[in-house]
Amino acid sequence: MTKTLLLKGIDEPDLHTLEVYERGGGYQALRKALGMSREEVLHELEVSAIRGRGGAGFAMGKKISFLPKGQMDKYLVCNADESEPGTFKDRELLQKNPHMLIEGMLIAAYAGGITRAFIYIRGEYALQADRLEAALEEAKAAGYVGERVLGSDLSLTMWVHRGAGAYICGEETALLDSLEGKRGNPRLKPPFPANQGLYQGPTLINNVETLATAPTIIRMGGAEYAKLGTTGSTGTKLVSISGHVQRPGNYEIELGIPSREIIYGLAGGPPEGRSVKLWFPGGSSAPVLTGDDLDIPYDFDSLAKAGTMLGSGAIIVVDDSTPVVDVALKVAKFYRHESCGKCTPCREGTNWTVKMLERIDSGEATPMDLDIMAAVCTNIIGNCLCVLGDAMAMPIGSMIVKFRPEFEAHIEAARARNELATTEEAPPEALIQGAVA
């Protein structure tokens, strides 16, 4: 049923070395691309209609076409910061097939007339960064990266830049600030990176998976690639699935298959006797769906229609053993910890939300606090400098809407437990468990 493009032969021993990669046809797509004009390569990428795999789902070809034409320093930045909770697909590619990414970056650089490239990899990915650096050394030695690549007019410098632990640096403008050696604060947009990005120069930023798909697109032809998936969501996508499933891991799927097929078919569904209570379809920033939503096709547009998003393609499954308040608190604490602190609603709003959730959890809240929390989420959404604040407010807001009775029961149960605790009587078993919706 599924076409395997990115994960094909991924466990072949030493695929991360140039020798093995080349043996499997590596860098042939680059040769093919360099035999075409820049415009033709860009055309193939545009026709493929591939949408960004990093979160926002913006068409890659279009983004390249936004770069100003003409001679100047243009930059390509690969976003390998992969920090969205539940997401670990880029890791698989970086660790096992780094040359595919490098080849993809060369193709993108060629299409965009780009001369300098950086790969911003999260600092925690030590093994992956080591592999990537080694691969890059090999590619440089073999003449794939450097001056006049393979005798063409493509010249490209490329460096691996290790981050140091900050989720916000996945946000593209924060990443640029971080790469420039500053604190990773997002920038105002406009100007957009395509016009004024790294060092104020025109900059293309793409996710690892997006770039790593470029060789495949060139090899197949954009039109052929576009036949995969759905009209609005072409191609295949790596999905990281985790949480309460039996076979967590990365799976390559064709976009548009029913979500149930991924959660139950590929990952085996929740453990025996449990059912899906809620799931994040695209990382912890995506508004949650419930067990009733499993038949939604897994693609950009269908998920958007369902009020959520495909995001980074990370499915987190929560089964009915876990109180929704625990999930909300984990999520909120994460965003509070990762808020850069630059803009008011995100900095204060995430902090406030955590405090309210803590009170809800400890039984010091009333149902009115749920309204305040919902209002706080509304006040965050759309008012922040970047969307990190929204990334907390949307899932939390969706949980309040979809699980309000459970929140209320939780408040009541925790409150009752507190009262009992003061009378030193053992609370009934049912109350300790928390509410099961």
Partner: protein, 208 residues
């Protein structure tokens, strides 16, 4: 009533300690860009930072790599280390402090030699990460060799619950296995090779 600031619970998460209560020491001189004439820098550190600076159109881009280098050399981003890096990079130590304190993997307080990051984010916690962190804390918390931290998602939810030990990802782990893991690290060994990320095969049945 004055509230004893030491008693205000501030860092529930446990991984960052801000210096909100710290005044400037008025006995100290201000801290401009260190003058090379009065700031000795170990040659190897200087060379490494200069090599990083050469990679970028703007030398400041080397800030994080330089701080990584300082941390490797001194075990943490010590004031002396930051001053040395600042001297080589022609930046103020304040600049580098601002950067260092922003990122979770750079430490401006002394820490144990081995970084033990336990992921306690959503996917891992659904699979018992909080208990795993507790176990690490209990068995290794008192050991100055270890820098045990609860960390946000480390991008390894497929081996949840997991830990990163000096960058080496291991999982899934049960709380009961923690003493064994820590002992292995103390002996200079890598625990549970078969459960390390480096050796993990893809789960996708079509991948092979």
């Amino acid at each position: 009533m004055a509230i004893d600031p030491g008693r205000v619970p501030r860092f529930g998460h446990g991984s960052r300690v801000p210096g909100w209560d710290e005044a400037a020491d008025l006995e100290k001189d201000p801290a401009p860009i260190p003058d090379p004439a009065t700031t000795p820098v170990p040659e190897e550190l200087r060379a490494r930072i200069e090599e990083y600076m050469a990679r970028y159109p703007d030398r400041r881009s080397a800030a994080i790599p330089a701080l990584h280098a300082v941390q490797e050399r001194y075990g943490w981003c010590s004031p002396e280390g930051i001053e040395q890096a600042a001297c080589v990079m022609r930046l103020t130590p304040g600049y580098l402090t601002a950067v260092a304190t922003f990122y979770d993997m750079l430490f401006t307080q002394p820490v144990g030699r081995h970084d033990v990051y336990v992921c306690t984010n959503i996917s891992c916690s659904l699979r018992g990460a909080d208990a795993l962190f507790e176990a690490f804390h209990e068995h290794g918390g008192g050991d100055p060799e270890f820098n045990i931290r609860a960390f946000e998602c480390l991008g390894a939810c497929d081996i949840a619950p997991m830990v990163s030990i000096d960058g080496n990802y291991v999982g899934p782990l049960a709380p009961g296995e923690v003493p064994e893991v820590l002992d292995a690290v103390r002996r200079g060994e890598e625990p549970f090779p078969e459960r390390q990320m480096a050796n993990r095969k893809s789960t996708d049945p079509n991948a092979a």
